[in-house]
């Protein structure tokens, strides 16, 4: 049936119809889209919390919410953005859609497990959001003990939600590793593997190895909370700093779960829009694994003023410096790829350029924080807030939105509106820098993070920051409008509007249910062979 229907435009979107067919689908493309919808929903929810936070801090002495509400908002903003948006954003949505197609496979290795992962993610999100109505949580997304043990409300539910969502992450990672290992098309050797897949492979390894540590930590926390067993609370004989070690043993590698896939997306976009091979393919692929390896041995840099030993600080500061080396290699290679290219400024490329600008600032300020003495003054101030927003939003979200534009024609078969996309990008890049750059200054001047009200001396920077957040809102609304409108009524895109060489573009747009029809694609060259007719 599928074969005859294919001639009449059968694709994964109309292969089966109805809500039930989506809810029970094991098609990686549909699951990717369901993740995408969920991630975007939570991104807007977390974004609304951020906007209220910014309004509250716009001018000292004019709060819009009371302190307890503020503390819950900042907790929810952080927890939602980290656990429900940035961690799954690229791997689970874009990755799910693109990974099997880039491999020339019909699906991931374990399609049913893939669907299960999605429902586990939803269950975790539901638990976390239930807590909103059951007293909320005011611990910050880091759940530091003993505060998190003593405060009331729905803390346990939020923690349980993060615990459950973690399994989704583990299972997706496992699925991706097996898929990349076993389901590569004939001729797709390791040396021809697209860089996004190298990045997703490295990410998956971290997901599988590090997430269980978070799970154990959260279980211990729930145990202590419910049964009053002394683990982290000194009042019960526990050690509060132990929690910080456990927490960051996961959450630092998690930072690379968040950024590596975005680096993979950028590595795909830049060669396509420069019409040139990626510069330093092996170095970029290796750098992904270098970053993944170092990720596991630098968690202590979150604890420089926690009371951990001088020797530990020495070692962690030294090791942290090594993060900058592979990261630098990637950034230099992307810029090098543009050299003597023929550059097109379509929206994906704009986001890639935006990524490089913001991520460079994020990376350089990371060196400040890795430097022991400097960190002592800057840690827990707005400098840290600015730094990780530059990396996580300027990096991951830029890569995510860039990737959304890049694969939009593949996913929908339509073209988005390039003019709207450009203005949205301009609004986002101005808004982002206006929101977060002043926070570096507020931070070096001493403004601490997680403050419901600031001293008046920090007002200028906070007002600028709040105004910037409105530009961000405007930009992201334009992106959403553009995506929705173009998916409905955009012009037909053709199968490969960017003339890209990776396998997913060699299929139809939108792809058929089984990705490539009855034939299995064969790979004869690496995916960055931009020469001759390919330029």
């Amino acid at each position: 049936m599928a074969h005859t229907a294919e001639a009449h435009g059968d694709n994964y979107l109309n292969h089966e119809k109805g809500l039930w067919s989506w809810m029970t689908t094991v098609d990686h493309k549909r699951i990717g889209l369901m993740y995408l919808a969920s991630v975007c929903f939570f991104f807007f929810l977390g974004g609304i919390f951020a906007l209220i936070i910014r309004l509250n801090l716009m001018h000292s002495g004019h709060p819009v919410v009371d302190a307890n509400t503020y503390n819950k908002l900042m907790t929810y903003h952080g927890a939602i953005m980290v656990f429900l948006v940035i961690i799954p954003a690229i791997p689970a949505s874009i990755g799910n859609f693109v990974l099997p197609m880039m491999l020339g496979a019909k699906d991931v290795a374990f399609p049913k497990l893939n669907l299960a992962s999605y429902y586990i993610y939803l269950a975790g999100a539901t638990f976390a959001c239930l807590a909103l109505f059951l007293g909320g949580a005011d611990t910050g997304w880091t759940f530091y003990t003993p505060y998190s043990i003593r405060t009331g409300g729905g803390v346990i539910l939020v923690i349980f939600g993060a615990f459950v969502a973690g399994f989704s992450s583990i299972l997706t990672g496992l699925n991706f590793i097996v898929t990349i290992q076993k389901l590569r098309a004939p001729g797709l050797t390791w040396n021809r593997l697209p860089l996004l897949l190298w990045a997703l492979y490295a990410t998956s390894i971290i997901q599988v190895l590090a997430t269980p540590v978070l799970a154990i930590t959260l279980v211990l926390l729930i145990f202590e909370h419910v049964f009053k067993v002394g683990i982290f609370d000194p009042a019960l004989g526990g050690d509060p700093v132990l929690f910080q070690h456990f927490f960051w043993f996961y959450s630092h590698p998690a930072v690379y779960i968040m950024i590596l896939p975005a680096m993979g997306v950028i590595s795909e976009i830049i060669p396509v829009f420069s019409r040139k091979p990626i510069f330093g393919y092996r170095a970029i692929a290796l750098a992904s694994f270098g970053i993944a390896l170092v990720a596991f041995i630098v968690w202590g840099h979150h604890l420089f003023v926690s009371g951990q030993s001088e020797l530990a600080n020495f070692v962690f500061s030294l090791l942290t410096m090594f993060v900058a080396i592979p990261t630098g290699v990637k950034v230099f290679s992307w810029v090098g790829t543009m050299y003597k290219g023929s550059i097109r400024f379509n929206a994906p490329m704009l986001y890639a350029l935006g990524f490089i600008e913001l991520f460079t600032i994020g990376g350089l300020t990371g060196v400040f924080l890795a430097t022991l003495a400097i960190d002592v003054h800057l840690t827990d101030t707005y400098f840290v807030i600015a730094h990780f927003h530059y990396v996580m939003v300027g990096g991951t979200i830029m890569g995510f939105v860039g990737g959304m534009h890049y694969w939009f024609p593949k996913v929908t078969g339509k073209l988005y509106n390039e003019t709207v996309a450009m203005w949205a990008f301009i609004s986002i890049i101005i808004g982002f820098n206006l929101t977060f750059f002043p926070q570096f200054i507020a931070g070096t001047e001493g403004m601490p993070r997680r403050y419901w009200s600031q001293l008046p001396e920090f007002d200028l920077w906070n007002t600028l920051s709040t105004v910037g957040s409105w530009f961000l809102l405007l930009g992201f609304l334009m992106v959403a409008w553009n995506m929705i409108k173009s998916a409905k009524s955009g012009p037909a895109a053709g199968d490969n509007p960017w003339r890209a060489l990776t396998l997913e573009w060699q299929s139809k747009s939108p792809p058929p249910h089984d990705n490539f029809g009855p034939t299995t694609p064969t790979v004869t060259h690496w995916p960055y062979e931009y020469k001759g007719a390919n330029v």
């Binding site: 302190a67 307890n68 503390n71 005011d138 611990t139 910050g140 530091y144 505060y147 000194p234 009042a235 509060p240 420069s274 040139k276 091979p277 510069f279 393919y281 092996r282 170095a283 003023v305 009371g307 500061s317 410096m321 090594f322 080396i325 290699v329 290679s333 090098g336 543009m338 050299y339 003597k340 290219g341 023929s342 550059i343 350029l353 490089i356 600008e357 460079t360 350089l364 300020t365 060196v367 400040f368 890795a370 430097t371 022991l372 003495a373 400097i374 002592v376 003054h377 827990d380 200054i441 001047e445 001493g446 601490p448 993070r449 403050y451 419901w452 009200s453 001293l455 001396e457 020469k531």
Partner: protein, 342 residues
């Protein structure tokens, strides 16, 4: 010996707090090195990117060059950053050692953090709340612990910060070279009034310090934090004995200064503790079900021994305020103020 302020101190370079100590001066050198190095690399990368984007923009008939890699270049941009990063690490470590190792002759003061107040205990038994009084030019070592959750003691002007952890002692030190007031922040999230958990270091000229030690009126000269007005109540009202203010007004300033209003509202709304409004002379039901009428003695007892009679519906979380922390004159002013809120 150091009472004369050196010209190197007291300045606030753009974007940085003022330099209140030698460590701050040393710290700033490293900071500006990193700052300009970052500017250099930013221009190199982003400038290069913009340059390429303009020069190599799409043009009809433009042929791109098939470049796959360049080993010498890649080795260069791996090795040079590695050397730079190791140098930065070493510099950071050497400044860090100065930051955390107090001289052996440092004067020790004990610090207790509690939600949401800093208290300071001196060797001679005197205590201060929200205000750390120290002599100019003497190294000071703070030995700190927390009564409840984790806090963090941060003095931007001295470029030092240390978490204050329940169940253990941590320490931080500084040698103030600038007389006046220096802001203290709590920088580890600790709940409702985390952003209100402020304090000030008062660095006094030696003769003023002796006056403070003797319990006499003294003057703070020198720098003020830009937020002096906001904290004026907190700091100057600690000794209101000579103030020519009506007693309830003195009390109003004191409850601000001592951080009481973080937990007790004055408008009838319940916060962490009961509101002050409309309680005086009225009966309150206690945790054990008995009732008590709020009078002068009840208020006094509830300040000095907060756990003795806890009002129903609230948790017994308030720290006790000893006679050293709230003297008799101040106590009278606070009682008068609460009485006035009926």
């Amino acid at each position: 010996m150091n009472s004369v302020m050196s010209k190197a101190y007291g300045k606030a370079a753009w974007g940085l707090p003022l330099q209140g100590s030698d460590v701050a001066v040393t710290w700033d050198h490293l900071y500006w090195f990193l700052f300009w190095l970052s500017v250099f690399f930013f221009i190199l990368v982003v400038g290069g990117m913009i340059y390429f984007a303009i020069v190599y923009r799409k043009k009809e008939g433009r042929k791109t060059k098939y470049i796959v890699d360049h080993h010498a270049l890649e080795a260069f941009w791996t090795i040079i950053p590695t050397i730079l990063l190791m140098a930065i690490f070493g510099w950071g470590w050497s400044v860090y050692k100065k930051q955390i190792h107090a001289p052996t002759d440092a004067m020790e003061i004990r610090v207790i953090g509690k939600q949401w107040l800093w208290t300071f205990q001196y060797d001679d038994g005197r205590t201060e709340a929200s205000k750390l009084v120290v002599p100019l030019g003497k190294p000071i070592k703070l030995i700190m612990t927390s009564q409840d959750v984790i806090h963090s003691f941060f003095i931007p002007n001295f470029r030092v910060k240390q978490d204050v952890v329940p169940g253990m002692y941590t320490s931080v030190w500084f040698e103030p070279k600038v007389a006046g007031e220096h802001q203290v922040f709590c920088t580890e999230y600790c709940g409702t009034s985390h952003s209100g958990m402020l304090a000030k270091v008062e660095v006094l000229e030696p003769e003023q310090y002796e006056l403070w030690k003797a319990g006499k009126p003294y003057q703070v000269t020198g720098v003020k934090t830009p937020s002096s007005d906001l904290l004026a109540a907190a700091q100057s009202s600690a000794r209101l004995a000579n103030a020519k203010l009506p007693l309830p007004d003195q009390g109003a300033k004191l409850v601000q200064a001592k951080g009481c209003t973080a937990c007790h509202s004055i408008d009838g709304s319940a916060k962490i503790g009961p509101s002050y409004k409309g309680i005086f002379g009225h009966e309150q039901e206690l945790l054990d079900g008995t009732k008590v009428t709020v009078d002068e003695n009840y208020i006094r007892e509830s300040i000095q021994k907060p756990q003795a009679k806890v009002v129903k519906g609230f948790n017994p979380v308030m720290p006790p305020y000893t006679k050293d922390m709230i003297g008799e004159e101040d106590m009278n002013a606070i009682v008068a103020y609460i009485k006035s809120l009926n």
